[in-house]
């Protein structure tokens, strides 16, 4: 009796330790959210979001950074989502589960997911700017420096490589939830494989593609390392085009906190910008999480 009681206490203590670590993680998340929201809520206003920085970036808003972030994620999605979706279709519909090709592609996708983001930055610099861009300049602009320098396009494409695995994984997951019966029924009615994919499988997994896109956008909006030297700029007085450098929320935070001369003066702006970025990714991630839980429910049903 006493023995089992002792055992019980030990069990409670050990279970308690695991519970405490789980709660600690939740606490960290909540503290981070609270600190940043409380710090930034006074700065947040419509004006802050829609005006340009003024007085050497110590006052004013973050509109160009928001604009740059939006352009970045849009171009990035245009590049990443179709390719990611097609790769996922290949993996689930065409490739045999254990073929060497499928295994290699899966390994490549997972590797892409774990490569440090700074390496993508280096790759963007070495490939897009110094190789592709420089060659375009040489071929079409007679060596004039136009595309062979950091700009929005190259930064977006670099970012799309980084977010490609995010899209692939979530689309693949949702493609798997489309019941095999539906495919069989479609084929039995005389549809070809491609027709089946286009008319049956893809519509059934549209929520997965959306989840993938949202996650990719949230990731792309928050990453700074890949665009450090492929296009992000400290301050620009005008809104950027494709071949210009651009301002981004994440880089704005980094610059204001570490590179700026008057860190204390810009503290409200720093908190405000971080708050905007966090809110953005927070809302996007929440949507993705809810969508994904729905997909998983569908799978289990």
């Amino acid at each position: 009796m006493i023995n089992s009681f002792k055992k019980n206490i030990k069990g409670i203590v050990i279970e308690g330790i695991t519970l405490v670590s789980a709660l600690l993680i939740i606490a960290i998340v909540i503290i981070m959210l609270l600190v940043i929201f409380i710090g930034g809520k006074d700065t947040l206003s419509w004006e802050f979001l829609t005006s340009f920085p003024t007085e050497g970036m110590t006052k004013g808003g973050i509109f160009p950074a928001l604009y740059g972030t939006a352009l970045l994620v849009i171009i990035m999605s245009i590049a990443a989502v179709p390719f990611g979706t097609i790769t996922a279709i290949y993996l689930t519909e065409y490739a045999k589960e254990n073929s060497i090709i499928a295994k290699t592609i899966r390994f490549a996708v997972r590797t892409l997911a774990v490569i440090p983001s700074i390496i993508y930055g280096l790759f963007g610099l070495g490939f897009f700017i110094k190789f592709v861009g420089a060659h375009i300049d040489g071929a079409f602009f007679g060596g004039e420096l136009r595309w062979g320098q950091p700009n929005l396009l190259w930064a977006s494409l670099t970012m799309s490589l980084l977010t490609l695995p995010v899209v692939i994984v979530s689309v693949e997951e949702s493609l798997k939830t489309v019941p095999q019966d539906l495919r069989a029924a479609s084929l039995a009615l005389g549809a070809t494989k491609w027709q089946t994919i286009r008319k049956v499988v893809l519509p059934g997994s549209i929520s997965g593609i959306m989840t993938g896109t949202i996650l990719a956008v949230s990731r792309g909006a928050g990453e700074v390392a890949p665009i450090l030297f492929t296009g992000a700029a400290y301050y620009l007085a005008t809104l950027p085009g494709l071949s210009d450098q651009f301002m981004v929320l994440g880089y704005h935070i980094y610059v204001l906190t570490t590179q700026s001369a008057n860190v204390d003066q810009t503290l409200p702006i720093q908190f405000g910008t971080t708050c905007v970025l966090l809110l953005l990714t927070f809302v996007l991630n929440m949507t993705a999480v809810i969508l994904r839980y729905r997909i998983r429910k569908k799978k289990n049903r």
């Binding site: 790769t87 065409y94 892409l112 280096l122 700074v224 935070i253």
Partner: protein, 416 residues
């Protein structure tokens, strides 16, 4: 007709039903579309493999010039007479046959190019060091000097000359890339990176693994529905936000608790990176724990073990390979983390094992210095070399996690 049908069906892998004659005409067109679609999809699917190969190629390509003279270095390194050999090699690597026999000319193209490179840093000291030499020899062979300032190839030649000393200093203790005599002591950076990785793992791994154990074994459904989305949210936190939090709040808080002198140090950075690594470790550990068959659990409970005994002595050991993989990928994440390292570690390349001193990690070095570096310069190549180091390291970590660990996990769970 039947022969044709056979050919067509084999194209679509015979998964179609044998078509009747009258819809055959309409289907013929679609099958071309089908064929093209399959080819295109297959082609695009190889993109991810292509990207990896391209990353390998282009990151290494930019790092490669460092090794250009590596074979020739070994000889002069043993001999000394450094100044002389530098001159000759500057000339030889120029690849200019006219310059080759004339050592002085080589030296000119050498020093002036060097000056160009360093001027862009705003470094004046070099000019003061050898103004005479420069001035006299410039007059001697102005043609070559002009060439060295205008063309890329010659300055690359000077780059390879720098590379000799660059490679030599690679194992030294100092990382001073921007100076009159640049030293690229990667060792300090590597030690800094490992130090910070260790700290963050000591913080994140136990926390994440225990939390995963709780979620997988003890938590009821409601707790699970709180914990898992929270972790996913944490995974979605941009690293620059975590870096900002560490810089603004965590650093001050920890300094008040532990009373150390340097506000930004490897301890703060390690904790912040740990926060970033928690979701990865948690998710993979939890996957591994839930992958352990239910029969293990039932058997253990049936033998009279309590719930926590089952969790700790049956489930946890069965999932060790998965947890190992989780830790490996956590290491990969911390190793390559740039923004947090840039913002919260102090960024001083010190060779010091004290956790309360500033460090500079490999990734942060690339992030901080790449924007200011001259393209094609030795410093540029060294940064790319660091990049390839990081890339190879994470690639290998991922490969180990993928093949070795997963194979082992499968074997263990299937009881082989």
């Amino acid at each position: 007709m039947t022969k044709k049908n056979k050919v067509k069906t084999s194209q679509t892998r015979g998964e179609d039903i044998q078509p009747s004659v009258h819809i055959d005409i309409t289907r013929k067109r679609f099958r071309i579309g089908d064929f093209l679609a399959e080819k295109i999809i297959k082609g695009v699917a190889f993109l991810s493999i292509t990207i990896i190969v391209l990353i390998f190629f282009f990151v290494f390509r930019e790092a490669f010039p460092i090794f250009n003279t590596s074979k020739e270095i070994i000889k002069p390194a043993t001999e000394q007479a450094k100044a002389d050999t530098q001159e000759t090699y500057g000339a030889v690597t120029d690849g200019d046959s006219k310059v080759k026999p004339n050592e002085i000319n080589g030296a000119v193209s050498d020093t002036s190019a060097k000056k160009d490179v360093q001027e862009t840093y705003g470094d004046v000291t070099d000019k003061q060091e050898n103004p005479e030499q420069n001035g006299v020899q410039k007059a001697n062979s102005s043609a070559i000097t002009a060439k060295s300032t205008s063309t890329y190839t010659v300055s690359a030649g000077s780059g390879t000359d720098d590379n000799q000393s660059a490679l030599k200093t690679m194992l030294s203790k100092e990382w001073v890339p921007v100076s009159e005599k640049p030293r690229y002591g990667i060792l300090a950076l590597i030690i800094g990176t490992f130090k910070i990785t260790l700290i963050s793992l000591l913080f994140a791994a136990p926390l994440a693994i225990l939390a995963a154990l709780y979620t997988a074994e003890f938590a009821n459904k409601r707790m699970k529905e709180i914990i898992k989305p929270t972790i996913e949210l944490l995974a979605g936190f941009p690293s620059v936000v975590i870096g900002f939090f560490a810089l603004m709040v965590l650093a001050t808080f920890l300094q008040n608790v532990f009373h150390y002198s340097t506000r930004l140090n490897s301890f703060v950075g390690g904790i912040a990176m740990g926060i970033a690594a928690i979701p990865i470790i948690f998710t993979i550990t939890e996957d591994a724990l839930t992958a352990v068959p239910r029969s293990f659990n039932e058997a253990s409970l049936a033998l009279g073990a309590s719930k926590w005994q089952t969790a700790f002595f049956v489930i946890l050991p069965a999932a060790t390979p998965g947890i190992f993989a989780a830790i490996l990928l956590g290491i990969g994440r911390v190793f390559g983390e740039t923004m947090i390292a840039l913002m919260a570690t102090g960024n001083a390349a010190l060779m010091d094992l004290n956790p309360f001193e500033s460090v500079r990690t490999l990734a942060a070095t690339i992030g901080a210095e790449m924007a200011e570096v001259v393209f094609g310069d030795t410093h540029y190549n060294v940064l790319f070399l660091i990049g390839s180091l990081l890339f190879v390291f994470t690639f290998v970590l991922n490969a180990i996690a993928e093949f070795y660990v997963k194979g082992k996990l499968m074997k263990r769970i299937q009881g082989k």
